[in-house]
Symmetry: C2
Subunit: 333 residues, 2 copies
């Protein structure tokens, strides 16, 4: 198996991506193609024991920064993200992994790879920790305006992913909405509710915002606008809260000692809820495998993203999605 890794992605640059890629190649015995400025990648190789790793370099002289927008996505014809997606398109890599600009990866990989046969819209899907394990949120930002049939496709793809990549049997599918009852929601969710209830999926009904992390559902379906808001609000709440705790605790000597005594356990907890640990996001329904790691990824998180790519390729998820779509899951809405 050959997996392409974007060397230019992530908030911490090649230092982290190259180390993660080297470790992934060694640990999973796979070939890794590092995509980016060749000179810089080779310089980075010198810092590592690469003897047991199977590595090669694919030159891509341009990089798309985290803050850049659609103009750069289009203009930079030699960006590492574009070159990486093309490797998958040409069959020179089985998957592409990047910790770069999410919007760029979504835009470029959809342009180059397109959707799987039968899928209307590839969906940005994210594994998040819950009180009981891991939940897949689909979509978290790729498709802001959706019709009911799109959300049903998301549900089917989410189910296939959780079953075949994470080994969750008969995954519980929830619909993100504003109340548990069938009557609660907007026009879109009410139609989707009806369709999912009539489907052979293990549909457990609406999931309210407060229950996203409770572990009630294995897959939570939403349009990309709502999913993105839910995700970003979560990040914002945690950040604001930590900031406030820090501020408040620093005012008091005993509280400071208290925080110090809790540090080790808080770190453990942080590791548990840090979604970099879970391999990141992915585009389900894409005609190719593309994994998007968190920008803040450390080498371990990059390695985990490569493992997710490997598991995904081996799982035959793509074939199953095509098969299910051909069976007519899209015939609603």
């Amino acid at each position: 198996m050959r997996i392409a890794v974007d060397a230019m992605g992530g908030d911490f640059g090649l230092k982290v991506t190259v180390e993660g890629a080297v470790r992934a190649s060694q640990e999973y015995k796979i070939e890794v193609l590092l995509v980016g400025v060749a000179e810089l990648i080779e310089k980075e190789f010198l810092k590592h024991k690469t003897s047991s790793a199977k590595l090669s370099v694919v030159n891509a002289p341009e990089a798309i920064g985290m803050g850049e927008g659609i103009l750069s996505f289009r203009k930079k014809k030699n960006s590492s993200i574009r070159v990486g997606a093309q490797l998958v398109k040409k069959g020179e890599a089985d998957a592409f992994v990047s910790t770069g600009n999410t919007a760029a990866i979504v835009y470029i990989s959809r342009k180059i790879l397109g959707a799987l046969k039968g899928v209307d819209k590839p969906a940005l899907s994210l594994l998040v920790p819950s009180l009981e394990g891991i939940t897949l949120l689909i979509d978290v930002g790729a498709n802001v305006d959706c019709r009911p049939q799109h959300l049903e496709q998301f549900a089917v793809m989410g189910k296939i992913f959780m079953e075949n990549v994470l080994g969750v049997q008969n995954p519980r599918i929830g619909l993100m909405s504003i109340g548990e009852e069938e009557s609660k929601g907007n026009e879109l969710t009410k139609q989707v509710f009806e369709a999912l209830q009539a489907s052979p999926l293990n549909f457990i009904g609406n999931i309210e915002g407060k229950d996203i992390y409770s572990g009630k559902a294995d897959v939570i379906v939403s349009d990309g606008f709502t999913g993105n808001i839910a995700l970003k609000v979560s990040e914002g709440v945690i950040e604001t809260f930590f900031y406030m705790v820090r501020n408040e605790v620093m005012k008091n000597f005993f509280a400071k000692i208290g925080l110090f005594l809790m540090k080790r356990n808080l770190k453990k907890l942080y590791k548990k809820v840090d979604y970099a640990e879970y391999g990141g996001a992915l585009l389900l329904g894409l005609n190719g495998v593309c994994i998007i790691g968190h920008g803040r990824s450390n080498p371990n998180a990059v390695k985990n993203a490569v493992r997710l790519a490997k598991d995904f390729v081996q799982s035959k998820v793509q074939e199953r999605i095509k098969y299910e779509m051909a069976r007519g899951f899209q015939a609603i809405g």
Copy 2:
């Protein structure tokens, strides 16, 4: 001034609502009408020094529970919420305050009081704490499917409220969306963005989910579906997080001591972020004043909700909303 208070609302019953109402009457020198089962209210009075308070009782033999749905809202013709809203309708009270079932209050008060002239949809608005003060989220659940003109009306009403009730000068209006750039968002938000930018409002652009609590905007506008998701996700994240911290910390002796040492400061912090402190939610654009306190309200929070009602009545917000709507703010979308 006379304010009606729903004695039957809230998670803790009459004990809390009656105490809050008594204290509000004494502190703000206003008359409070307690609405609910007369016998129970009068029994509760005996527990308080009510000599300096101006109190009366309006009998309402039925109560709507926190978990009840639309059937009860319609069927219970003598619920405390319905009787309270009718007091406002008949001019026998200047405002109605309840800590009961939010959906019931929204449904019944809209049925009985209707919208202010020029307003299409009264909006559920919530004051939330931010890093820099207080932000008004509008709508957080009353209108799940909105057209652009509705969101512009929300913006105008939010501005008038913040200016006249909370004294915020030229409030910064933000639009809840999934990226800061104008091009980010769904069909709805993109149209609203354009309209708000062309309006005389102090529109500062899109606010991402992660910035809701940062204090960047004084008013954050959204449809009720998105706003409700954002709010409930926030509650869920905090609850899940506290649960996890507790669980993790209890595993270790030193961490337990650590938590103990931080307790006083965490309580202070909790008070800062507890939105019961701010008086609660309200229906802006309703033809009448209706304040919705949090179900978990303690007597102090009930008292604060009454204060918010009083400030609202004195502020002439209603007249200003009618005036602005007549000037044609609704002429878009």
